[in-house]
């Protein structure tokens, strides 16, 4: 079932440009130049129920603008958008009942109150029936392991604890769609894993459709089966993670741990890209030479202790996409 349908969405902002320096500021008083920024330049996509979609792009690409349009707090200039059959900005309140949102850099909890009181307030705001609320709340508390700090005012929580509370807060009204805007930003490794596990299980077990924007490619790799890349308001690629890889490069990496002494590896079909003590990483094109052939040649020629073949990390892929965008 199609849950979200976006067609040709356009949003422009007019930004007043100020020239630098004092003289620039004075000139700005008399005459202000406006520059039109196309935050969304005709984007289209559909999302089915139960998908977990990664939405990535450089800073200022239009990710958050899309999320804001989908959640009804931003009115686009043109284009169509339907979430569960409703146009979000025309039906903001009805739409709000079916969506949950977490902005990683901001909290929706009341700063001075313990998280549990924020939850109770949200129950009143969303008018969740008492029994449903208690069941959902207790389940979320259990899964996110919040019990030990529920009574602490939110301002005293660590970032990881706060983020877990924020996630719980966004799901108390049992939304069918969840927008996560950089949910792991600034978190330590353990908290990141906890957040990812939780998002995955909510998606699988409750069939909550998730749209995730992030700069952390590990999030994408761990969670998303579909990735959309956006830049300057246009969608550049939309497909599986493997598809995304293939659009950039088909190369694979062979990492070799050498026995002592050996410092150089060379092969006509592979190129050394890093050399760190006894660990050497080579890159090769599997269309040109098979991994098996390359490995047998190298193990025959050099004293190898261990080796493994992998895809280039998604970080590298995305960095290359972004670098190409700038050219």
């Amino acid at each position: 079932m199609t849950l979200i349908r976006v067609e040709n969405l356009v949003k422009t902002f007019s930004v007043a440009e100020r020239r630098a320096g004092l003289w620039g500021a004075v000139k700005g008083l008399a005459y202000r130049r406006h520059r039109v920024v196309r935050a969304l330049d005709g984007i289209s996509f559909t999302i089915e129920t139960g998908e977990l979609v990664g939405y990535i792009g450089p800073n200022g690409a239009g990710k958050s603008t899309t999320v804001k349009a989908l959640s009804g707090i931003l009115v686009p200039d043109s284009g169509r958008c339907e979430v569960l059959g409703r146009t979000p900005w025309k039906d903001r309140i009805a739409n709000a009942r079916d969506i949950g949102v977490v902005f990683g850099q901001r909290t929706q909890l009341w700063w001075d109150l313990p998280a549990i009181e924020s939850f109770d307030l949200l129950r009143d705001i969303y008018r969740v029936p008492k029994t449903d609320y208690v069941a959902t709340r207790d389940e979320l508390i259990e899964r996110l392991d919040l019990r030990s700090f529920l009574d602490v005012p939110v301002r005293q929580l660590s970032l990881g604890q706060r983020m877990r509370c924020d996630l719980a807060a966004s799901l108390l009204h049992r939304p069918r769609v969840l927008y996560l805007d950089e949910p792991t930003i600034g978190l330590d490794a353990v908290s990141k894993l906890a957040v990812r596990d939780f998002v995955r299980s909510m998606n699988r077990q409750r069939q909550i459709t998730v749209i995730l924007t992030t700069h952390d490619m590990d999030d994408i790799e761990a969670l998303c089966n579909r990735v959309m890349v956006i830049n300057e308001g246009r969608i550049l690629s939309d497909g599986t993670l493997d598809d995304l890889r293939k659009t950039v490069t088909t190369e694979r990496w062979l990492t070799v741990d050498m026995l002592d002494g050996a410092e150089q590896v060379s092969d006509p079909d592979a190129e050394v890209i890093s050399h760190d003590g006894a660990r050497i990483t080579l890159r090769f094109d599997p269309d040109h030479v098979s991994a098996a052939a390359l490995i047998s040649r190298i193990t025959a020629k050099y004293p190898v202790r261990d080796l493994f073949v992998e895809n280039p990390p998604i970080e590298q892929i995305v960095a290359r996409i972004y670098a190409e965008l700038k050219l």
Partner: protein, 263 residues
């Protein structure tokens, strides 16, 4: 309605935490009230002209003003302004609620909890020691109570309107100070409105500000007789309605052009 009530009561609970501030404020306000009472004593002693209010009425008027000063003192809701600046305001718009009503509920809370916390001890102290008289009559007392509630609604409507303008100006200290000063002068919080020159009276009677202080105080002291109470309260309600309509209209325009800061 339950959601708005929940916001209102949560806000009140938060505000009631500031007990030390309330106590310090109480001390300051008693001091200033006392100074102003003394000024009027001196004025009445040295003037033989017939004044529009009796000295007893002026003294009660001043203490009522000190007790409910906080209805006026809060202009914009600084929490909402902080949210607008930081972009957290996006969360407010993500709730299945009417944003104006949400902010209005917050504004009413801001003018209820702190006011109650100071007004009650102020009444007791001023009544026992500083010359605050009881209401002129039972009817005057009832009208004063109703009018005070309406004054909270009126001041909240003005406050919410000012908060909404923050969507445009972000740092709106200029307009805030202007409205602030106008509120203090034209509500009678500095000099009781009947003491203003007679040529200013039609203007003062027209403006919304008197509904935030002068009207309830004069109803209390009987300076506005209970027979004229209905008209005075109707004036307050009319302005409340006008300011709410303005605020709603402005907010509807503001959210359409809203660029949530950051990201």
């Amino acid at each position: 309605m339950r959601g708005y009530w929940a916001i209102f009561s949560a806000r009140c609970r938060t505000l009631l935490q500031y007990r030390a501030a309330a106590l310090a404020g109480l001390g300051t306000q008693i001091f200033w009230g006392w100074v102003r009472v003394m000024v009027f004593y001196a004025f009445y002693q040295s003037s033989s002209a017939v004044q529009p209010m009796t000295l007893e009425q002026v003294v009660s008027y001043i203490w009522l003003g000190q007790a409910t000063l906080l209805i006026l003192l809060y202009g914009v809701d600084t929490d909402v302004v902080a949210m607008i600046r930081s972009g957290t305001v996006a969360y407010e718009m993500l709730r299945p609620m009417d944003v104006y009503s949400l902010w209005y509920a917050r504004a009413v809370a801001l003018r209820t909890a702190p006011v109650l916390m100071r007004a009650v001890p102020m009444f007791i102290l001023a009544g026992l020691f500083f010359g605050l008289q009881p209401p002129a009559s039972l009817a005057a007392g009832c009208l004063w109570a109703v009018s005070t509630v309406v004054s909270v609604l009126l001041a909240s409507a003005l406050g919410t309107l000012m908060t909404v303008t923050m969507l445009w100006t972000i740092a709106g200290d200029g307009i805030m100070r202007l409205v602030y000063s106008a509120t203090f002068i034209f509500s009678g919080s500095i000099i009781p409105l009947p003491m203003f020159p007679s040529w200013m009276q039609p203007l003062l009677n027209f403006l919304p500000f008197r509904g935030m202080a002068d009207v309830p105080f004069r109803l209390y002291t009987g300076n506005i007789p209970p027979s004229a109470g209905a008209i005075a309260i109707a004036h307050q309600l009319a302005w409340t309605l006008v300011l709410i309509i303005c605020g709603r209209w402005l907010l509807a325009r503001g959210t359409r052009r809203l660029v949530v800061q950051g990201g």
